[in-house]
């Protein structure tokens, strides 16, 4: 459980990054299935794993999704391990049963887990074999959401990276197009589509799309904006297909959203006048809404435990637009290139930590005595019982928080625990 200090260069500031190893109080990448299956409405996610995997997804989702969900687990049992059953034949049988039940499924992901990785079950070959069998009605892909390889939101990264090779190629002379990358709420996408259209940018696609039959095309004239900060492998795969990333901060808060939109506007030759004319009313409206949250947040000290990799952009927003004071900002993984613009905007003196040693971090949190702690569900109530005020990190990935009209919603997520704390007197 080593600790190393390293300096991350961000313009002129030098922000120290505390790198830690130890017990991690975070979900594995399988958890991403919970929002991915809602987004891609004709996709099914079949985890090939253990009872633990099934129990994890069910617990993270709550047992309350009443309908037959579009995810399931093929639970590996003793017979598979002992070689009494051919695991590949078993998998084929399970997939066949599944697809018979669900003729509406067009895209099936075989999702690798810790046990399937350790026993080296080759899901990519299985996906090829099953794809050949069920083509053209169903396409079968695979990725790993295992905890030994992925942390929480990295599961989405792995999923999207596995989809990239299936995108069809745009011809070399195709017009320049914009691709927004990362799972977003439909309402956010619709707002941005309207904004881009008002600026005169019409070739905008979203990846992942709402249906697997609507995958965008890709080629050397594709420019992409990351909407989420955790998409390292997806970005690499997109660039292998010739797409180019537009560097920008992430679209959280008014400032982040404006700079993110501006990166695209500049690329598409939108004039400053047009850009301002389109965005200014939205910026002003968002700022007015933010002002209502500011009194509750300004000057309050906040501590982030690592969770989704959204920590740094959100901390930047809370610090610059709402006047919160950052103590420690923990993140499971920090992608220096994708976060370069964010790091440049971070205030001096912030402690950033990457990875986790939860016991040491709890010690630091106790001694920092922050006004608000952002942490996972396993830590929230125990820390509340110690007298801290907490915000569940998981809500930040399930709630629409990107863009102008969600900036105040994002602020409100942090204001609510504080104002609740003031209301309760018993």
């Amino acid at each position: 459980m080593s600790v190393a200090l390293e300096s991350g260069r961000a313009d002129t500031k030098i922000i120290p990054i505390l790198k830690e190893r130890g017990q991690r109080e975070v979900f594995c990448g399988l958890t991403g299935i919970i929002w991915l299956h809602r987004k891609i409405q004709d996709a099914f996610f079949l985890v090939v794993g253990s009872r633990t995997c099934a129990h994890l997804i069910q617990s993270a989702a709550g047992v309350m999704i009443f309908a037959e969900p579009r995810f399931a687990t093929a639970i590996i049992d003793e017979r598979d391990l002992a070689g009494l059953a051919d695991a590949n034949e078993e998998l084929d049988r399970v997939v066949k049963r599944l697809l018979e039940r669900r003729p509406d499924i067009k895209l099936l992901f075989l999702v690798g887990s810790c046990p399937s990785e350790v026993i080296k079950l080759d899901l990519s070959r299985a996906a090829q074999r099953l794809s050949a069998q069920f083509t053209p009605s169903v396409r079968v892909l695979n990725y790993s959401g295992s905890g030994i390889e992925t942390t929480f939101t990295q599961g989405e990264d792995a999923c999207l990276a596995s989809l990239v090779p299936t995108l069809s190629s745009a011809p070399a002379d195709a017009p320049t197009t914009l691709m927004i990358v990362g799972t977003l709420a439909d309402v956010v996408e619709d707002q941005w589509t309207r904004l881009f259209n008002e600026m005169g940018v019409h070739n905008v696609s979203y990846f992942p799309p709402r249906r697997s039959t609507e995958l965008p095309r890709i080629g050397p004239n594709t420019r992409y904006l990351l909407a989420q900060p955790f998409l390292a492998d997806t970005a690499r795969a997109l660039e292998e297909r010739g797409a180019q990333r537009l560097p920008a901060p992430f679209p959280l808060g008014v400032e982040g959203t404006t700079e993110w939109l501006r990166a695209a506007a500049n690329m598409f030759g939108v004039s400053t006048d047009t850009f301002d004319a389109v965005t200014m009313p939205k910026r002003e409206r968002a700022l007015r809404a933010l002002q209502r949250q500011r009194p509750q947040l300004e000057g309050k000290r906040i501590f982030f435990f690592p969770d989704s990799q959204l920590e740094i952009p959100i901390a930047r927003f809370l610090s610059r637009e709402l006047g919160m004071l950052l103590t420690e900002v923990g993140t499971p993984f920090l992608h220096k290139q994708h976060l370069a613009e964010e790091m440049a905007m971070m205030p001096a003196g912030v402690q950033i930590s990457e990875g986790q040693h939860v016991e040491n971090q709890i010690d630091r949190c106790r001694s920092a005595k922050p006004d608000l702690v952002v942490c996972g569900l396993g830590l929230a109530n125990p820390l509340e019982a110690e007298g801290m005020t907490t915000k569940w990190a998981i809500e930040l990935v399930f709630t629409p928080i990107q863009g102008y009209d969600q900036a105040a919603d994002l602020a409100e997520l942090f204001a609510r625990p504080l104002s609740r704390h003031l209301r309760l007197v018993a």
Partner: protein
Amino acid sequence: MQLTLWTYEGPPHIGAMRIATAMHGLHYVLHAPQGDTYADLLFTMIERRDRRPPVTYTTFQARDLGNDTAELFKSAANDAYERFQPQAMLVGASCTAELIQDDPGGLAKALNLPIPVVPLELPAYQRKENWGASETFYQLVRALCTPHAPAPGTTRAPRANGKRPLCNLLGPTGLGFRHRDDIKEISNLLISMGIDINVVAPYGATPADVARLGEADFNVVLYPETAAQAASWLQRTFAQPFTKVIPIGVGATREFIAEVAALAGVDAAPQLNDPCSHSTWYAKSVDSTYLTGKRVFVFGDATHAVAAARIAAKEMGFNVVCIGTYSREFAREIREAAKLYDVEPLISDDYLEVEARIAELQPELVLGTQMERHIAKRLGIPCAVISAPVHVQDFPARYAPQMGFEGANVIFDTWVHPLMMGLEEHLLGMFREDFEFHDDAGSSHLSHLGAGRSKAKPQHERAISGEMAPNTPPIVGITQPIATADDGSTPAPTVTATARHADGIATGAATPTAANGPWVPVWDADAEKELGKIPFFVRGKARRNTERFAQERALAAITVETLYDAKAHFGR
């Protein structure tokens, strides 16, 4: 490989966590990859525990696999000992660590920690949560009590004259269904009988307490799923007899009192009638007549399912149409109970199979777990929860035991409530033509089951305040949008977050009429109207029976007469 949508039980190491988290001064070092820490939130969010489960996860990653995961385990165990200073330690592996075969038991032994270290072998690819809890408790009891065991063959010294009998309460764990309140209810009952309680374990016990188990005269086994194995060992080793009757329901509570009195050598007569026991009289009261013969479906862990079936049949006057469990280890108990009610037992942990059986039997009340609550809600059938797996709703703020006389009171209220709500909805529905009631008002109880807030307000008031479910009552056999997030009375915190994205998908699983070949039911307008006059909580069954009747006779259309022909044909 088994295709699984939802599971009733977690893996066996979750069972071990339920033991460790219930106790104090015990720490569990679990060799496990990143992500397995999800289990902490079961305890901190569902049970709302105010401390972290006492579990250290080694959190190995792919890059560690080629190197030394064993070393990682040893340093994690050492650090956990230094930091938490437990009285005893459990060590074991989760499913992934089981595959890499690092032998946590051997590694921990090599550390020479100055406390008892209990190695757990919990085969994750064969066994499940309840078995893991039972095995963990047994191994812990064995390890901590063996040093105090009498030499084999020693007879137990008789209790000293004038000394009150002493017993242990065995079985309650973390994440148990009402364990917190059952402990209080049964402890008070035993104390009122003149019996002292030596140790309650694992709930609230320390390893030092567990080491004292042998001092008691006998053991009270509250939950055989967790404690039967340990109690058998204690009987063999310390000659401590243990109770077999589970005191859920008035009849069983009386039997339990008699059983305990015999073991303790005390007079049970004063306790057999509790002045605060209301459920028996309430069941006799004439307003309960409508409960007679209600067809109930019972499913849960074996202990609670067997008890619920007995109460249903003997104390409520219901008809048990099915009894089942997800726990194969206790299949025998369920099969024996099924014989009593002359029904086919259902032994399955396949959620879809349970759902299909409920849809087929069309009961009037489902007594099940949270999973059956979802099924029942989808099918429009009233439901009460009787067993784990637990949900945040199963940890009410108030005192709500299942065991003892007060438990029987709680159960009476809990089961009658959804039925009563159905009746009230019907009475309200009779006034639908009145000008002040909205004709499109639906049954609020189905979307707010358990909340009880719609009971007091008149219907029009609820409609105005926006509390009404917008749809008319669900009718089985018609595919309809499935409610997911509207169960908002006391949602699990994780659910609040998820619900926004999870609007659910209606699928063919619960639509038994959908796939019945070319015959399509055609209802006359008059017949459809007549059907509307039937109380909605039996309307689904009426529709189903009528359609089945019509289909068997290949009738082109269903008329009012068909409806009554079918009623006469299927009438109970």
